[in-house]
Amino acid sequence: MSEQKVNDLVIIGAGPAALSAAIYTTREDIQTLLYEKAVPGGLISTTDWVDNYPGFPDGIAGLELAENMRKQAERFGAVIEMGEVTDVKKEANGNIKLDTTDGEVFAKTVLIATGSGYRKIGVPGEEEYYARGVHYCATCDGAFYRDKKLVVVGGGNSAVQEAIFLTRFASHIDMLVRSDFRASDILVDRLEKEFKDKITVHKQTTTDQIIGEKIDNIDRVTKVVGTDKASGKQVEFQTDGVFVFVGLDPNTGFLKETAVELDEIDFVKSDDSLETSISGVFVAGDCRSGATMQIATAVGEGATAALRIREYLEG
């Protein structure tokens, strides 16, 4: 029987935290394998523009930043496999066994860096019209809305950034903000000064229902129903599509049946050295309990985790 290959480090995910860690570990000659189920770079790959990551005075396209990070990690020997990890278990011999879509993989250490995904609003019509008028990726789907009316739901940085991006296509955007903007002042200022003709902001407005009908035999969204919290009255917005950016949820569903401890909202718990409840399994980035959901902090945590992993491997 052939001996099992045991990787020095398997990183679950290939976003900024993962790629940052991989740059550090591979430069330390720690053999590093990454598993990514979607796209290397994670959410930044689908972000139109990144203005708050240091080193790029004029900002940088999210996809370009993601590609740069991937290339940098691969230059030092990181290997990125496309696949999904479904289970993480500590073996009696101290190694960690991962179940993946490619079979079992073994590692001395593991870094969970699965990041987060866009949260759903959870209203009627949202699931029914997914990809048929309800969207979470402006850079993927915005081009289908040339000269159309859109609704953007959310008031954070992503919502404002992506609404601005969507003005390339849409004739008009109604932006529904449940309370007030949480986006940075500079973004809000830009939206209010440069895009006020194309984007109408409705603060204190909830999104309650997405309604559609069959048009030319294809299901299409036609309007969004909400509530103006100030007056308590129902409000309606005629639209051709809805883009939702209401926050992020951690990609940790695959850990729920494992010994990796999660907090009450499903983020991965860790100690000061970013080690989880399983010895040798570390966590970094958006999926970590207490994460600040920024590219810069994810990159920093990835580097920190890499140094802790090196210490762990050195015993």
Partner: protein
């Protein structure tokens, strides 16, 4: 084996790049229809997929049967290529 592969893409779609890279790595040739550059063809993508999203990959096999894969979905794309 695939006789023809067509991908509907946009300039900014990260998942489109994943499909193109995967097909390239596997040695498959494909026709790319970029709906940013050819907006008149977006209706075609919608009618084929029923969805307002890209990438849409259409794999036509030797017997002219087709598979339509919406998004970057390796579990559907790999078997469709045969």
């Amino acid at each position: 084996m695939a006789k023809k592969i067509t991908i509907y893409t946009t300039n900014t779609c990260a998942y489109c790049g994943m499909v193109k890279k995967y097909l390239g790595n596997k040695g498959h040739e494909f026709e790319e229809i970029n709906i940013d550059q050819q907006p008149h063809r977006q209706q075609e993508a919608l009618e084929i997929s029923g969805a307002l999203t890209v990438p849409v990959t259409v794999v036509t096999r030797e017997d002219d049967s087709q598979s339509v894969i919406v998004g970057w979905n390796l579990s559907q794309l790999a078997p469709a290529l045969g």
